[in-house]
Structure formats: C-alpha cells, structure tokens
C-alpha cells in the first residue's frame, strides 16, 4: 500500500519534474503523464486503486502495462522508459537519465553543431516552430540514449521513429510478446457477442420445445411468458393446444366445468369466469395469470381435487383468522380431516354409515358447536380439538412472539415480525406440536408405557439429530433454557440421572462430559 500511495503522490510531481522520479514506479508513471494524454488518464485511473480491492489494483496494473506496451516505441536502440520497469537494469538507465539531464546542454550543443544534420535542419527550419518543441520533449526522455547514438541522430529519423512507428509496429511486436493478454482482451467481447445470439437461439429452441411440452400442460409459466412474448405464434399453437386438449381429454374440460358449477373452492370460483372468457379470447389476450390457473387444474386432476380444497380451506380460514380472529381459528386448528373424523365418530355413534352423505344439518350443528365452543373460549385461549378428540389450547401468542423475535434477532434479521407472519408461525407451531405429540406417543407406546418420559423426548431429539455424540441434551438445555428451567431439570436428581444413563448407554464420553459439566 505504501508503494501504491507513493506514485499517487508522485504523479503530479512527475508531470512537472522528472528528476524526482527515482523509484521504478514513479519512472513508470512519469512518461505516461508526459507523453500521452492516455498516460494521464492511466495515471488518473491509478488514483482509484488504493480504495479498490487488490484484484482491482492488479487489473489496473495490467491495464497500464498494456497501455505502456502499446504506446512505447520498442526499438532496441531506443529504450522507452516504460520498458525500464520491465527490465531490472533500467534502474541504471534511470540514473543515466538523471545524469543526462545535467549533460543536457552538452547534448544540445553536440547535436546542434552536427555537420550532416545541419542541412536537414536548415531544410526543416520552416518546420522547427512546429516540430522543434516535439523534438525537445522527446529528447528529454531519451537523452540517456542520445550520446550513444553519435552522428546518425537525425531528428527527422527520430520523428519518423517516434511518430510513425509508435503505434503500428510496436503494437504488433508487443502483441507478439504478450499474446495472451491483448488477444484475450480483444476476444472477450467477441465471445460475449457470439454467445448472445446463440443463447437467444437456444432459448428460442427451448421455448419452442417447452411450448410443445405445454401441450402436455407441463410448463405453465413458460407458456404464459411465451404468450406475452410472441402473440402470433402463441395464437397458432394455442389453437393447436386447444384442439389437442379437446381431442385428448375432453374430461378435463368437463371436470373444469363441474368444478365451476360446484364452486366449492372460493378461490377458484373467483378465477373461473376469467377462464371462461379466456377460452374464446385467450389467443388475443396474452394473460399470464389465466393460463397457469387453468392448466394446473387440468394437470393434477385426480390429486388436485382432493388437495386443493384442503389447502384453500386452510388458507381461507387462515386469512379469515387474521380478520375475524377467534371464530376462524377454531377452524384452523381443526383440520378438515379432523372434522371429518369427528363427523365419522358421530356418525358411528348414531349408526349412520354413509359418511360421504352426512346430512347438512349435522354438519352445521357440528360446526356451530365448534364455533360456539371456540367463540366461548376464544376470549382467553383458542381451543382446538386434537386427533383424539381432546381439547387443547394453543400456545399463548405472546410467548411464541417473544421466542420468534429473539431468534429473529439472533439470526440476523430485525426482531420485527408482522402479524401475518405471527399467525403463520402460530400455525406452524400448532402443527409442530401435533407432529411432536404423535411421535412421542409412538415412542412411549413402543416402550410399553402410557406416559411420555424424558427418554422419549431425548429419543426424538436424537432422531432429529439435535442430540448426537457432540451435543448432549443437557448442553442444549443449558444453551437454550433459562436458569430456572435448568434448575427444574437439575433439581430432581432422578431425572438427571436418567439423562445421564441415556447418554451413557449411547456414548461413554458424553456421560463423562455430563458429569464434568454438572
């Protein structure tokens, strides 16, 4: 960084005066600033690097080196200062240059009285006003070399060398030298350019293939996009799809119609008229929404009919729960399956076997009962009914919210949780407890007990990979639970010994750790 910062400071000086530039890098930059406006821009760019990343700095260095390589004359006799950076002996050249500055008048005097050049200069006297200062500026750079080249030094030749040969031949030579960089730099955009249309073509092809797949109603999204992108093609092929759909499976449309008629899903009921309208005018309207709505319905016929209403019912009741609160939360807890089961129980009790055709009065009474129950108890806690027909409250939202906020803070997000998200979390925690209860029941029943022990919970957590040879349950508890609960865990000795024994059976070192910890 120190080296980097020096040339930064040095660039303005270097533009003004050469002799300060003793260091390599300052030597590199001074001619750039002197000779070319490009060099100036390069030095101007170099201002950026110290703030930039090391890669960016390296990139700047390579760019500058390329530029220097392009714009430096590359003759053997006439060594440019930019090359001086590359060859180690150019320190000596730099010194020679500094010394040559002092000998400057000698050089000029030696060059001016030169016999042969006089004629040429006298010829060029008219041009000296224009070309003269250029010579001088070049001489400033190359004065170290000037004494070496004694009498051949025709300023005209130098002009030709510098002026004409600068760009073209040296570029070619340097290209030969540094093939890789420059060639790559030239070719990179070409590749990108060539890849562009190819990718588009491939995209087109894939889209076309997708498009044919959409005849099988597989990719609804691509379908919709395509309709947006290319309406005429769509028009043609969608007509094809429609005919295909009609020919292949008339049942689909029928099922759609049936679904519309029944309209047992509120969401689909909303979307249905749109679809009906689209079937006639779908070609014209590139509506993205309509196709995905309609097609998955076609796709998943057997599965979806069972599945969709459940989801919708949940989501509906869920959203309703946000608005209305207690009434619908009773429904949230009671999954439709459960309601059906309860209904089945009721039906079995009354020895009515047709569960599918239960009279609506019963459904209503049952639902009303549930609602009444929920409404009655909802003031304090929402009451749900489990699989076993036992009422249970859900966790108080304040507790869940506090937990979630704490974990959200620790996980990096803000501690703020919207009420919608809170409801979703409550739902998830309800499901979690349901799943956990069933698992624990299975474990305890498998052990021949009718009581859920801590060993069951530990087994569960081991199966969840929360407890393994590295982490003991006690370590987890001490990490997450507050002191009071830890003390509850600790206080009764038999419980702890149980934990120890459990871990001791599995892995000996754990037990040792536990003992050492406790």
């Amino acid at each position: 960084m120190a080296r980097e910062s020096r040339p930064l400071d040095a660039t303005p000086r270097a533009a003004s005066a050469d002799p300060i530039s003793n260091f390599r890098r300052s030597l590199i930059q001074t001619p750039g600033s002197q000779r070319r406006p490009l060099g100036l821009s390069a030095s101007g760019r170099k201002i950026a690097p110290p703030t930039a990343t090391p890669h960016a700095r390296a990139a700047f260095r390579t760019i500058d080196s390329r530029r220097a390589a392009i714009f430096t004359p590359h003759r053997a006799r006439r060594k440019s200062v930019r090359e001086a950076r590359d060859s180690p002996r150019d320190l000596l050249l730099g010194l020679g240059r500094v010394l040559a500055k002092k000998t400057e008048p000698i050089v000029t005097s030696s060059s001016s009285p030169g016999d042969t050049p006089n004629t040429s200069r006298s010829d060029d006297d008219s041009h000296e006003t224009t070309l003269g200062p250029l010579h001088m500026s070049y001489d400033d750079d190359d004065e170290a070399d000037l004494p070496k080249r004694p009498r051949l030094s025709l300023p005209i030749d130098r002009e030709d060398d510098s002026g004409s040969d600068d760009l073209v031949p040296h570029r070619s030579i340097l290209l030969d030298n540094e093939d890789n960089f420059t060639m790559q730099s030239v070719e990179m955009p070409r590749r990108a350019y060539s890849e562009g249309p190819g990718g588009r073509l491939s995209m087109n092809s894939t889209r076309m293939s997708d498009f044919f797949n959409t005849n099988d109603m597989l990719h609804s999204e691509d379908f919709g996009r395509e309709s947006g992108m290319f309406p005429p093609i769509n028009a043609i092929e969608e007509e094809g799809t429609f005919t295909m759909a009609d020919i292949m499976s008339p049942e689909r449309l029928e099922s759609d119609a049936g679904r519309r008629e029944t309209g047992h899903e509120s969401d689909f009921g909303i979307h249905v008229p749109v679809d009906i309208d689209d079937q006639t005018s779908f070609v014209i309207n590139p509506e993205v929404q309509s196709s995905p709505v309609r097609q998955p319905a076609d796709l998943d016929e057997p599965v979806y009919e069972d599945f969709a209403p459940m989801e919708d019912a949940r989501s509906d009741s869920y959203d309703g729960g946000v608005d209305d609160g207690p009434d619908d939360f009773g429904d949230v807890g009671n999954l439709p399956d459960m309601e059906d089961e309860d209904l089945d129980n009721a039906a079995n009790e009354t020895t009515r076997m047709d569960t599918g055709n239960i009279t609506e009065t019963e459904v209503l009474t049952h639902a009303q009962r549930a609602e009444l129950r929920a409404a009655a108890a909802a003031r304090k806690k929402r009451i749900n009914i489990s699989k076993h027909g036992i009422q249970y409250p859900s966790l108080p939202p304040a507790v869940v919210k506090r937990l979630a906020q704490n974990f959200a803070k620790t996980s990096g997000a803000k501690g703020k949780i919207t009420p919608d998200a809170m409801n979703a979390i409550m739902q998830a925690s309800d499901w979690f407890f349901e799943q956990l209860g069933e698992d624990l029941e299975a474990y305890s029943k498998h052990a021949g007990r009718n009581t859920i022990n801590e060993s069951d919970v530990i087994t569960l957590m081991r199966r969840q990979r929360h407890i393994n040879s590295q982490t003991t349950p006690f370590a987890l508890a001490s990490r997450y639970l507050p002191r009071e609960l830890l003390q509850d865990l600790r206080m009764p000795p038999p419980v702890l010994s149980k934990i120890r024994r459990k871990t001791g059976e599995e892995a000996a070192p754990e037990a040792e750790e536990d003992e050492s910890v406790t």
Binding site: I417, L436, G437, D456, M461
Partner: protein, 76 residues
C-alpha cells in the same frame, strides 16, 4: 427474563391432547426445548427466505414457505 419462559401447563396440555398419553413430570421441559429448536430453525429459515425474496422482515409468505421444510426436519 422477568416473566416465565412459557406456560408449562399449556405445553403439557397440548402434547397430552395430541398424544393421548400422560406426560412425566419434567418431560415438558425437554419438549419445550425441542420446540425452541424448532422455532429457531423456522425463524432462521424464514429470515433467509425473506432475504432471498427481497422482503424487509419476516413475512407470512416466507414463514409459510419454510414451514413444511422445518416440520419435516423435526419429524421424529
């Protein structure tokens, strides 16, 4: 924490209702520990999902999207 971490009786009731089993004296502490782990996982995944979706905080969408995965992760 000034207030108690969670209502033990409620947790016991919930698990009891779901499992139709009685629960030993201090098992609910471990159950709640597991619940805390679940909540941590859920919230972490939800916040990741929210960041991925460009949302500001944890929203219902991110939570719903993640719920199935974390429930499956906590399947015994």
């Amino acid at each position: 924490m000034g207030q108690k971490l969670y209502p033990r009786a409620t947790v016991k009731k919930i698990v009891k209702a779901h499992s139709n089993c009685s629960i030993s004296k201090n098992a609910d502490v471990m159950i709640f520990l597991d619940y805390m782990l679940f909540m941590q996982n859920l919230v972490k995944e939800a916040s990741i999902e929210a960041k991925k979706g460009g949302e500001r905080g944890i929203t219902a969408r991110s939570v719903k999207k993640v719920t199935a995965d974390s429930l499956a992760k906590f399947k015994g």
